[in-house]
Structure formats: structure tokens, C-alpha cells
Symmetry: C2
């Protein structure tokens, strides 16, 4: 067990922040002092950690010299604003907001262990991958022995909690409005999300890609160690509160050996393989779980070189918080 | 205008059946007598057609010698049971239930006109393709001049009305149960569909494919005239009442010319292209419309040979009823 260290969680009042605090306790992470930070509006709230209440304080006045490691889960702008101040204070940083370029802050797949670690010097700065990249990379890294991916296509059907607490509230409110025949109000998203699918998350670049899609592709390439892998990604929002669903297609150079694929998935601790015939769902299986659920393992209907999978994963727990804590566990062993 | 003929609609009390009757009137289809048929349980109900009420009668005692054309929208078993009796009576048949093999009953893409018609002799028997095939084939046939598809990957996010009226009721009931904190009952589907995604529609074969996925692939190959096109398809159910959403990836032999793609889509009457930046949704755009909506036209994030599209289409209206009527309009001109 490593030496206990002082930790800060920024965005402690978010769903991801709360899950981080829960997991630091659950996994007996070597925490000495825990500092919970958010905007000045939340100052005064508190969260339970190891049987006592820890107050949430304002990020503004916080001195990062007090802590060795900070988890950033307060949106991209907060990370970008704070990054230099944090590193200058000698504090290492794990960013969950996809704010930093992958050159500045490489991303890490904790299940690959030390093998996949970038070369870092203290204080280091890494990115926790986005939830879809976490789920997809874990599955594909597991399959590396039998699969030489030539192309990758991901349709990520993201739960509305991707947009944070206000997204969750929006889906609940819109659904109630529709069921009660009241006029529909759109606030967090600009159209009806209740009983509807939104084909796009946020604005798109001049190529038509949303930032999340570009990031997902880049993270997958880095996490799999395949920088030239052609990736096509579609990220859509679905009327689900928590839990992402991914339809993944991998083009291989040779016919897919489905049995070998199943055996590898079966053997990986972080993956729960659902038997053929049955299938996993985000809400029924993945939410609240540490594992990434995989099902519908099969070739293309008329394409023996295509592997198709359905992945369900808890975007807040495994996709964000647990994965960040796993990254921290790995990094403090090697670099702190 | 063709000579008016006598028509039967089987499954007249279904959503698809009702839409068929509406469209026969709207499009001034040359109907002489209209016979509405369903199970004996519905006998006595009626639908409005050209200003008068037409009674729904039981299919059991119906004599198909009275009609020249029958639309079958009452489930696969009804079509299979009736097919011989219908043809023996000299009545032609358009099946909407995917009950018949594509050899027995080829499928037709009406927008391709006479060019795409199979050779038929009276009384003929054709399949109306499944709604995802209708939408996808129309788009890809339109793009044929600039796209030589080498592989196709479709993630079809199907609305619950795919399961008929009982599916629609199930989603409404489950949603109300969850919002009101009542225990959840699953009837039509075997798990929670409200605020959840189901990765599979119906049972799967020993390769892991659902029947709908196998059918979709075969129909696309036939409709596009590309019998060897490798197709990978995933059909999932989403908590949306009406309107399907498809994420489609087409692998091409050369870099995609996005501008040329947009121009062709823009020019096709049956397609509504949504400009870059914006995107279509099933509920906000497609439902109630005759057009198939297309948006998010772009290459793969890091794959210039991949064309990605988001398609939204009304599964009951355009996907089933309108398309079947368009097929009928084309066929009676040529073969009746
Ligand atoms: N939701 C997911 O699926 C997911 C997955 C992976 C990563 N993430 C990342 O995790 C973070 C939180 O996500 P969420 O979805 O849970 O978001 P959220 O509900 O919108 O929460 C935002 C958090 O950031 C804090 N915050 C906002 N502005 C701040 C400021 N100026 N200074 C300090 N704190 C500030 C908020 O504190 P107040 O309560 O004081 O406003 C709150 O704790 C984001 O960076 C997001 O990119 C989310
Ligand atoms: N929903 C879609 O998106 C969609 C799209 C394309 C094609 N289709 C096809 O369209 C058809 C109807 O679909 P739906 O989703 O609207 O289904 P649905 O709501 O389940 O309706 C089924 C229809 O079939 C009738 N029927 C059932 N058993 C019968 C029997 N033994 N004899 C005569 N009629 C019988 C029912 O009549 P009663 O009212 O008397 O029970 C009802 O009219 C199906 O074949 C389906 O495959 C549906």
C-alpha cells in the first residue's frame, strides 16, 4: 500500500464528483486529507467520507500546494483555467473533462497496467478518457491478441447525464410535461429529448464532427496504441438517465473467430460478458457496476470480417469516476 | 390514371393499417371497393374512407376473388397462412410483415421506378421492405452515382411502435410507473424499455443475428442491386414512440466527396437534407412526414473513405404504409 496523500476533488458536487468520493472510500485509496471543491455557490454543502462529513469549499481561494493529487471534474473551462496554477504548486492532475490536448495530458487505460503508461515526470498531468472511450478501449485492448483492427465504427448512444445534473433534470421534466399534456420547455438541450433521440452532442466543426467524436477517436487511437486506426464515431443523446450503450463494429483483416473473442472477454475481470441470446442493457445491468458489459458478440450479418458488439457501461461510475481512481492507483505506484 | 380496382387491407386496425387507409385516400389511389379486415375481435369497428365509414370485417370468411390487390399488415403468421388462398383467388399481394422469402416475394424500392422492378406475372406477390431498409435504401440508391459502397454498417435505433400497438402501450405504461414510483411491469418486452435501450429485437439465430437484422441486410442487398455487399446491422429498441433513427456508415473505395453527396441528397424528392450544424430527429422532424430525413453528412472522424449519415424516418408512415402504397402505384401501372 502506498503512502497516504492529500487529495482534492474539483467539481465535488457533480454526479461524477460524488462518485469519485464514494470510490476513494470504497477502494481504500490511500487518502490522508480530502479537499472537496466546487463553485462558491456550493460552499457550505458537505459529503460523507469515511464516516465524517467533509465540507465543500470554493475552488477560488484553494492553495494546491496542500495536495499531491487533484481530480478535475468541473467542466473543461475550470481545468483550463486552473491547470498551470495546479502544476506550479507541485500538484499532479487527473482531468476528467477532456479539456487538455492528449499531448499535454495523455490518456491512460488503467487495465493495461504499467505497460500502457506514458513517460511522466512529477507533477504530472493526465486525461481520464471519456466514458465511451473507456468502455470501448477496454474491450478492444482485451481483444488485441485475436483482432488486428483495420477500421472502427462506434455508434455511442449516450445517456443524458452526459450533460450533467441539468441534463438529468431536463429529461425528467420534459417527460413529465409530455405525459401530463403540458407544453414542452427545452432548456439544457434545444429540443425534445424525452421520447426522442438527438443525433449530435454540442456544436460541430467544419468537417461535421462534434468535439466529443473527435476526442473519442483520438483517445481510442492513443489507448489502443494504434495512432493510424481509421475511426468513425457518432455520439448521440438518448432518453436514458444513466448508462451509455455502444454499438461497435470492428473491421478485421481476416475472418472473425467469435469463440476466441468470447473467451478473451470472459477472462477479463473488468468485463462482464453476457451470453448469446441474452443481451446487456445500460439500466438493467451496467448502472452501478464496475464492469463494462458486453453482449451481442457476432460477425456482420453478411460480413465475416466484421466483429459486432453491444457495450453497456455506467458513464458516471465506470466511465468517469472509477476509471479516474484506477488511473490514480496505477500512477501513484509509479510516479508519486 | 389507372382503372379503379378493389382493394383489401388486412390488419386494418393496426397503426400501419390505419395509415394505409389514410394514404389510399390522400394519394387518390384508384380504389373502387375497399375491404378492411382484421381478426374477428375487431369486427364491428370502422374506419373513415372518402367521407364514409367502412366496417372492419373478419379475415376468416373473406373471399379474395372480390379484390385485385391485398395489403397484408397483420403479422407474419397471417401472411403465411393466407398467401396461397389469396393468389389462388387471383388477387395480388403486397406483404408488409416480412413473412415471405425475398425469392418468393421480391422487395421493391418505389423511388427507383420501373428500372428496379422484378419480372412479375399476375397475380404477383411482393414484399414491402422493413422501415429501416426503406429509409436506408432510398438514401444509398440516391448516392449510387458518387458512391461505390464496399461495406455497410447500420445501427438502427427503432421506436417501440416497431412492436405494434402493444409496444406503444408498454412504453407509456412503464414510463408512468417509473415516474410515479410504482413497481415496473414488463409485458410486451421482457425488461425495462422506459429510459433504457434494448440491444436486440426478438430472438437471435445461431450466429447471433436477430431475424430483423438478417432481413434488413438481405433487403438492402436486393434493393441496391448489390447482392454481395457486406452488411453489418444492429437493430435496437429505444424509448421513442414513433420514428426510427439510423446511424449509417458506408465504406467506399475512394475518399468521400461530401459536397457531391449533399447535392444528390438535396435533389431527391423523397429526401429532406438537414444542413450541417443542425440535425434531424425522429420526433421533431420525421414523424408524420413522407420524406426520409438525412443529416450529419460527414466522413469518418479519421477515415476519409467512410461516409457517415444520420437518418430519421417515420416507421409507420413512410417506412411501412406510404412505401407500400407507392409500390402499389408503381405495380398497377405495369402489371395490373
Ligand atoms: N457526466 C458524465 O457522464 C461525465 C463523464 C466523464 C466526465 N465528466 C466530466 O465530469 C465533470 C462533471 O460532470 P457532470 O456531468 O457531473 O457535471 P455537472 O453536474 O454539470 O457538475 C459540474 C460541477 O462542476 C462544478 N463547477 C462548475 N463551475 C465551477 C467553477 N467555476 N469553479 C468550481 N467548480 C465549478 C459544479 O459545482 P457547483 O455545484 O458549485 O455548481 C459541479 O460540481 C465535467 O468535467 C465532465 O466533463 C462527466
Ligand atoms: N409498426 C411498424 O413499425 C411496422 C413497420 C412495417 C411493417 N409493419 C408490419 O405491419 C403489420 C402491423 O404492424 P403493427 O406494428 O401496426 O401491429 P399491431 O399493432 O400488433 O397490429 C396487428 C394487426 O394485425 C391484426 N391481426 C392480428 N392477428 C390477426 C388474425 N389472426 N387475423 C386477422 N388479423 C389479425 C390485428 O387485428 P386486431 O385488431 O383484430 O387484433 C391488427 O390489425 C405487421 O405485419 C408488421 O410486421 C409494422
Amino acid at each position: 500500500m502506498s503512502q497516504p496523500i492529500n487529495i482534492a476533488v474539483i467539481g465535488a458536487t457533480s454526479n461524477v464528483g460524488e462518485a469519485l468520493v464514494e470510490l476513494l472510500e470504497e477502494r481504500e485509496f490511500p487518502v490522508q486529507d480530502l479537499h472537496l471543491l466546487a463553485s462558491s455557490e456550493s460552499a457550505g454543502q458537505s459529503l460523507s467520507f469515511r464516516g465524517r462529513q467533509v465540507r465543500v469549499r470554493s475552488l477560488d481561494a484553494f492553495d494546491f500546494a496542500q495536495v499531491q493529487l487533484a481530480f478535475f471534474a468541473a467542466g473543461a473551462e475550470v481545468t483550463r483555467t486552473c491547470r498551470e496554477r495546479v502544476l506550479a504548486a507541485g500538484c499532479s492532475l487527473i482531468d476528467l473533462s477532456a479539456a487538455l490536448s492528449l499531448d499535454q495530458a495523455p490518456c491512460v487505460l488503467p487495465e493495461r497496467g504499467a505497460e500502457g503508461l506514458p513517460a511522466l515526470t512529477r507533477p504530472w498531468c493526465v486525461s481520464a478518457p471519456t466514458p465511451s472511450a473507456v468502455a470501448c478501449a477496454l474491450v478492444l485492448a482485451t481483444l488485441k491478441p485475436v483482432l488486428q483492427p483495420q477500421r472502427l465504427q462506434v455508434t455511442a448512444m449516450l445517456s443524458i447525464s452526459t450533460l450533467g445534473r441539468s441534463g438529468v433534470q431536463e429529461l425528467a421534466r420534459q417527460t413529465a410535461e409530455l405525459l401530463n399534456g403540458r407544453p414542452l420547455e427545452s432548456k439544457t438541450v434545444d429540443r425534445q429529448i424525452a421520447f426522442n433521440l438527438l443525433a449530435q452532442v454540442g456544436a460541430v466543426d467544419d468537417q461535421g464532427h462534434a468535439q466529443l467524436e473527435v476526442r473519442l477517436a483520438a483517445e481510442l487511437q492513443q489507448l489502443l496504441g494504434l495512432p493510424a486506426l481509421p475511426v468513425a464515431a457518432t455520439c448521440a443523446l438518448v432518453p436514458v438517465f444513466f448508462g451509455d450503450s455502444l454499438a461497435v463494429g470492428v473491421q478485421s483483416g481476416a475472418d472473425i473467430d467469435v469463440l476466441a473473442v468470447q473467451q478473451l472477454l470472459e477472462a477479463e475481470q473488468g468485463i462482464e460478458l453476457v451470453e448469446a441470446g441474452d443481451y446487456p442493457t445500460a439500466v438493467g445491468d451496467a448502472v452501478g457496476q464496475d464492469q463494462v458489459y458486453v453482449g451481442r458478440v457476432r460477425r456482420g450479418v453478411s460480413d465475416p470480417r466484421q466483429l459486432n458488439l453491444w457495450i453497456a457501461s455506467d458513464n458516471v461510475r465506470k466511465g468517469a469516476a472509477l476509471n479516474a481512481v484506477q488511473i490514480a492507483e496505477l500512477l501513484i505506484k509509479h510516479y508519486l
